[in-house]
Amino acid sequence: MLLQIIVNGILKGGLYALMAIGMALIWGVMDIINIAHGSFIMLGAFTTYWCFSLLGIDPFLSLIASMLVLFLLGYLVQKYLINFVIRASAFITLILAFGIEIFINNLALVAWTADVRKVKVSYGAANFSFGSYLTIPTVRLLAFLLVIIISIVLFVILNRTNLGRSIRATSQDLEAARLVGVDVARTYAVTFGIGVAAAGAAGTLWSILFPISPMMGGILTLKSFVVVIIGGLGSMMGPLIGGLTLGVTEALGTNWFGSTYENLISFTILVLVLIIRPRGILGGTD
């Protein structure tokens, strides 16, 4: 029983980690808290839903489509909107992201109504079971594996490619990066695009596992925050550790206190971690 709860927590935690990777990347490189992150996750989920119900594309395959669409969207948003105010106080970009969130959510609401939808795949009920101890739904396991693969790909991009080098250089020192010939505006746009594409991937996986609706983004943004804060900024391991911690804690907490306490548990953890270790569990002190 306990084992099952922890495994469920880990599987959901993987998804939380993927949500947070995009947010942590954007935050770390550009000092933007992307309040619209959850809205991008929602768009990824709906891309998958429409690919599935209109074109009959398997949701796991539409992962590529939703990542591409959201990369492009993120690239354009950064290039033609956020880059205009990026050197104002961080606070200004925060509110700009809020405006983008309001816009996207309400556009989705007008386009698709507030109905809750579900991607129903034929293999949705398949699972592995280990006697009576443990049952793992196949889709959850697949989703978890994809989270790991996407994280590794992102890690390789950031650490082993020229693009990654420009991204890291820009995040460390904007002026110096510009001096050595990095196109800062483009790097920012690509970084935002990658972060949003990761959100899109998370949305796709979310739509396979849970019901979706245009207003689902708000709470997901907040949970991504919680994960980034728990894991701390500055390393690729952070979101993974933060996501798994949140997933398992939530699973245990809702088991002990009831599901109405899920959000109370997440946000109490958030505030406590911030107060006790403001740089996250992995991060050093100031």
């Binding site: 700009l96 983008i100 996207i104």
Partner: protein
């Protein structure tokens, strides 16, 4: 300089007198609308104390609003107390909460403070949803007011107006006192402020508490006006967003900035909801985006500099683009 000051006082007096007369010449709908504007003007001004002057971007100010509303509801409904006692307790309760939560949270800086306050507000909402005394998600009905409808409209309008005037006067006095200078010093460079002997903890906590006090008053009046409150609407993050957007749109760190922001944003969104019934929130998003891109310093900066037009907008963009 003296003349200048005198002229400003005179202008304020005339504006206040005009506002006082609004209910006498308007129908109920407009009084109600004006009451809403005043409510947001108070909350944006209260946010300005901590966000605009002190530089601590609180993303959880709605928590004070919710606490004010719930203290009022519980005291009036469960304890049978009079509204004015509940009103004062609501403000005090919110201020006390601001001090308790402020002591640890105000040690955080920048984004971390913003997120922590957001977390506090969300945690509080989740707590109220689960508590017995707040009746969880089903909400609390408040006692109805024993007055003619028209008189009720008057009552709430003047309560809000009075609270707004109080907020602005306290802010004005504070700005010209030592505390005000401390706050601005903290905003400009907190470490430097600390090193010259300013008690930054005291100043920050004071600003946060006052911000909580006025927002709590607002929540109290709102709860009595609605006669029914629920955790969802009382603690919604959208109220926080509105306060911030109004303060920024009008002009952060200026006494009348948030007031101006509240007036314009409320009128714009009312106008939009008249013309675009379904999609007005969508257009509201566009307004926020455009306002932030073109006038990040707020419209009060335009008015002070007497510069309206494309050149001003482009200059702002040139200053902040990469």
């Amino acid at each position: 300089m003296r003349n200048h000051l005198l002229r400003n006082y005179l202008l304020c007096g005339v504006a206040l007198l005009a506002l006082t007369l609004v209910p006498l010449f308007c129908n109920n709908f407009i009084i109600r609308f004006a009451t809403d504007i005043l409510m947001f003007a108070i909350m944006a001004s209260a946010w300005n104390l901590i966000g605009g002057y002190t530089g601590y971007a609180s993303f959880g100010n709605v928590v004070f609003f919710g606490i004010g509303a719930y203290v009022t509801a519980v005291l009036m409904e469960k304890a049978g107390l009079n509204f004015f006692i509940a009103f004062l307790s609501a403000g005090m309760g919110a201020a006390l909460f601001a001090i308790l939560i402020g002591l640890p949270v105000l040690r955080l800086r920048g984004h971390y403070f913003a997120i922590a306050t957001l977390g506090v507000a969300e945690a509080m909402k989740a707590l109220v949803q689960n508590l017995e005394i707040t009746e969880g998600n089903s909400g609390i009905y408040l006692p109805m007011m024993d007055l003619a409808v028209r008189k009720q409209y008057y009552f709430f309008f003047y309560m809000m107006l009075g609270t707004l005037v109080l907020t602005l006067i306290v802010t004005y006095i504070l700005l010209n006192a030592k505390l005000g200078y401390s706050l601005i010093a903290i905003r400009e460079d907190e470490d430097a402020a600390n090193s010259v002997g300013i008690n930054t903890t005291y100043a920050k906590t004071m600003a946060f508490a006052l911000s909580g006090l006025f927002t709590g008053f607002c929540g109290s009046i709102y709860a009595y006006q609605q006669a029914f409150i629920k955790p969802g609407p009382a603690f919604t993050v959208h109220t926080t967003v509105k306060m911030i957007v109004m303060a920024v749109f009008g002009g952060m760190g200026k006494l009348f900035g948030p007031l101006l922001g509240a007036f314009s944003i409320e009128i714009i969104s009312e106008f939009l909801s008249n013309y675009f019934l379904l999609a007005h929130t969508l257009f509201f998003g566009v307004v926020v985006i455009l306002a932030i891109v073109f006038t990040p310093k707020g419209i009060i900066d335009m008015i002070i500099q007497k510069r309206f037009g494309l050149a001003y907008f482009l200059e702002n963009i040139r200053e902040h683009r990469v």
